[in-house]
Symmetry: C2
């Protein structure tokens, strides 16, 4: 299976421009599973709820319609961060769109900074998405990296690959080794698709640091790029490698767990 992550700079508040850019990128990649950044259709640094509301859409909106078309046409699964409207609530969400038209949505559980005044916290936990017998996929978004419970919960539920759409403003020297730890401590693949570039709002500036990466269950960096890179990272993987939780005849990182000794 070929997996890929896109690193690029969305145009702030310009969904049409972003869908055009994304369509072009998606036409140019040969992969089975692709991961686009958090809020890749809209940008991130919203001034207020009105600005966010103007770009939020539901699963029948133009963004997911486009991703469904491309997923079917190119026969690939697409994980894409977007602002999801559901009634009065808006979630920082990531849709997984399959070639056959199925859509599964993850709603960000851990909200970062001003997201707390803009978005409703995810209310569906960390579901694992099964793609026939091809893949068991987990999704976490950006700041979920700080919480070992996010990736752990997905791994305990059988995820082989964790897609991690991101708009990380934290220093890569902090989050990169931690996301490697998430792969290593759970023996899963992780795909961090982090946007780059900057956004301005009045006299404030937010810088996103790129440095996207794909990490194997043994902690190996399969692919990593620098902050300024624009385009795809790809890696060929065998998802079932993530089912091997034993690392010796004596030890298995899941079987060795002692939940009765843990506090939640």
């Amino acid at each position: 299976m070929i997996i890929a992550a896109l690193q690029f700079q969305p145009a702030f508040l310009d969904v049409d421009a972003n869908l055009s850019t994304l369509a072009s990128y998606l036409e140019s990649v040969d992969a089975d599973l692709v991961v686009l950044p958090e809020l890749c259709t809209s940008g991130y640094f919203f001034r207020d709820a009105e600005q966010l509301a103007a770009v939020a859409e539901d699963a029948d909106g133009p963004s997911l319609r486009l991703f469904r078309e491309i997923a079917a046409e190119r026969n690939m699964a697409i994980v894409a961060g977007f602002a999801e409207r559901d009634g009065a609530a808006i979630y920082n969400a990531a849709a997984t769109v399959f070639p056959e038209g199925r859509v599964e949505i993850y709603r960000k559980v851990h909200l970062f900074a001003e997201e707390k005044r803009l978005f409703t916290p995810g209310d569906r936990g960390f579901p694992v998405i099964t793609w026939g017998d091809r893949l068991r996929l987990g999704v976490m978004i950006c700041y979920d990296w700080r919480f070992p419970e996010a990736a752990r919960t997905l791994a305990l539920r059988g995820a082989q690959v964790i897609a991690h759409p991101s708009n990380l403003v934290a220093a890569p020297r902090l989050w990169k080794p931690v996301m490697r730890t998430r792969s290593f401590e759970n023996k899963v693949f992780t795909i961090t698709a982090n946007r780059n570039g900057e956004e301005r709002r009045d006299d404030e500036r937010l810088v996103f640091h790129g440095c996207s990466q794909i990490v194997a269950p043994n902690g190996t960096f399969l692919e990593e790029v620098d902050e300024l890179y624009e385009g795809w990272l790809t890696a060929q993987i065998e998802p079932s490698k993530a089912d091997e939780k034993a690392f010796s005849p004596w030890n298995d990182i899941m079987a060795d767990r002692r939940p009765e000794a843990y506090e939640l």
Copy 2:
């Protein structure tokens, strides 16, 4: 508060020699809290239960008597890994010995490799040890590093400093960034006191890689040494720094947790 970790090579099966070496090291360090490696009184690579039984002792044995004497004389707390006998059971344990004579024992929860045929798994979970108003201390041993739940449980129970006596055979490029993650994701100090040197048993050889380290709650390496270093690592810390779980007006790594979304 001055904290310190000892990196050295114990003499395999020779408790008297190790106590003599440790007494000499302990007389030479000025610290409030010192951490000695896992099984520092006996070495590690036991052939069988008889070999282990010959070096196991209870809290009134010669090792803990010596540590109590030195702790009182030098006015410091000592965390020391040893083989603890309790009736028919032998635990891979770490005693925390206080100047006033109090002893608290942690029994290794996650057993590594052949420890499973030699030791009884820890049956008391991950208690946090309170030292008056000076310190709240957690202890985990060696392979506990692989499980995010170990350090997380200690941090949730209020640990400011996690002592991590070790006999790590894993590559430092694997465990060092993960232990840094344990500090960073919980905002606690971690002190890994890892032995070095090797032990032989028939035609088998086990190599321990040293590379002990002390990490701050923000992920900074306060002190780290190479594989061959023998002696103390020290750092001056303010334990209450570990009580600051917020990193901005918006976010607090503990308050932001969403346990209802986690699987244990």
